[in-house]
Symmetry: C2
Subunit: 317 residues, 2 copies
């Protein structure tokens, strides 16, 4: 079996995943060629995950595929964008066919699940990392920016933030298996359907990659406002409370990254519609506070004094 | 000076380079938002360059910027695409402000030179590498594929292939400075204007990143044809012949990568138009052979026996 780039691409990546009429020319030429439908805008985001930094060294190919894919596609969800196409640039030290097989099968499955064709990529030798560039579509003018939050808006979060952080801690503990937490870390779910539904409801949105506290702060900075967050309202699952104490769970919920849930704001007049969106998508959506003029985040609740908030979000350097 | 990702992005990348009305929302949100004009198709390509593999370890930021940018933008040239936008994902082991400053200044200069705005990116810790995803536009249906070469078409190459390979050899030799060869390696020129002009002239095109022989072979495979190449016609500059013997120079021209020249095919009835394009763009364009039905590449010329063609193109693994 030839171990050159082109043979590997042919074997593992040439014809995998979702196929779409929008793709005029797929992988295998100098560029892919895409037909962007009239009346839509293109949302683009790039994310790199590095072995030993963003996933443990020696991670299986399917875990790397899921975490990298979620990190990238989640940015589309945060804009309210419908997945359109993506490219993947994989760097690996040696050709490991077993790993590549697991990786490409999972990437193909995700591509089909989210109806997002893989249109190109790059494969090269070097320290293990993966860069995914995603493209999504929104009707022109409907992308949800970070900068639209206004005084009085409600602040929401999807899912159970902090579970991925707990899952990462669990990875190091043999024996105790709380699978939903491990899943939150190893198989994060980009909230595409919620994002699409929020286009006409949300005033601002961001995905929670660095931690709820840090990412909400980015949103507030962009919008030039602040927020009061009722910490007691942050949802904690039974598994989370089995794993750790209530105050440690809330600390993780506020500061651990990797969840790829959405944090968003919406005018209080949209409250019933937001609730309906949670029901129709089957995704838990919780109102955790509201927007105020005064900048910064004010955490409310008796438990706040007990929280460990020293690490207020993932620092990339 | 804070060394977190966001501070660095603000300092070095937030507002650099070309600004365009097509960019509805630039860097700083979950995604960039782009307005793709009606009637155009989007060409997309991703390239990763890894330190110690694609550029020497310890390379200056401006060299890394130029080589990575050229590798990516050259794929647009090979499709006949006009540069539209790009993203950059930079991974570096430690924050080196001097390097970042040199890198971002050069990236900004290139962005302005090629009128291609930087719309997003990623910055993370890890072994040094850079992944650039470029997007370009072609009028719908006019992208130049690799697969269109037909029997009797002429085969052309731009510039002086092999000079970048010679430049790389020169990097290791103190004293002897043949600057145009070093430039060919350190500052390759994507042939955008030639590519745009070829949209209505060329039947197929590819950029020469892995070596003329290997890349022409990819084009021929895609088109299901072969080629006869008159090796004596491959252009060699005076600097190349000062650097090495004629047969070694031709060996480099056929097998060394990194040039980012274009190799393309065109119907013989377009010969005069191709010549005019060379004159109007100031880029040397040389007819080096023609397309035949019989697959494979047949090299013609008495000198062929003397060439070192063992390495027929860069192998990525």
């Amino acid at each position: 079996m030839a171990d050159d780039e082109f043979a590997i691409i042919d074997q593992y990546f040439a014809t995998i995943g979702w196929q779409s009429d929008s793709v005029v020319l797929g992988p295998g030429d100098d560029c892919a060629v895409l037909a962007v439908p009239d009346g839509f805008e293109l949302c683009v985001s790039t994310d790199t995950l590095v072995s030993g930094i963003h996933f443990p060294e020696g991670s299986d190919g399917d875990v790397v595929a899921r975490r990298s894919f979620a990190a990238a596609v989640s940015d589309l969800a945060a804009m309210g964008a419908t997945p359109y196409t993506f490219t993947g640039a994989l760097t690996m030290p040696v050709v490991d066919h077993s790993w590549l097989s697991t990786f490409s099968e999972e990437l193909s499955r995700l591509s089909v699940e989210f109806k997002i064709p893989l249109v190109g990529g790059n494969l090269t030798r070097g320290p293990m990392s993966l860069t995914i560039t995603v493209m999504g579509l929104t009707p022109a003018g409907q992308a949800i920016k970070r900068s639209g939050a206004r005084e009085g808006d409600d602040v929401y979060v999807t899912g159970y933030p902090g579970e991925a952080g707990a899952g990462l801690l669990l990875l190091d503990k043999a024996g105790k298996r709380l699978n939903s937490l491990l899943d939150a870390y190893q198989s994060p779910q980009p909230r595409i359907e919620v994002g699409e539904g929020l286009r006409t409801l949300a005033s601002a949105a961001i995905d929670v990659s660095d931690g709820l506290f840090a990412d909400l702060a980015h949103l507030l900075d962009s919008s030039g406002v602040g927020a009061e967050i009722d910490v007691e309202k942050i949802p904690l699952s039974a598994e989370m409370l089995e794993f750790t104490s209530r105050d440690k769970a809330l600390s993780l919920a506020l500061t651990a990254g990797d969840d790829y849930e959405l944090c968003f704001c919406a005018c209080s007049s949209n409250k019933a519609e937001v609730e309906k969106l949670g029901q129709s998508t089957g995704v838990k959506i919780t109102r955790i506070g509201f927007i105020v003029m005064k900048q910064g985040i004010r955490l409310l609740g008796d438990i706040v004094d007990k929280l460990d908030l020293a690490k207020k979000g993932y620092q990339h350097f």
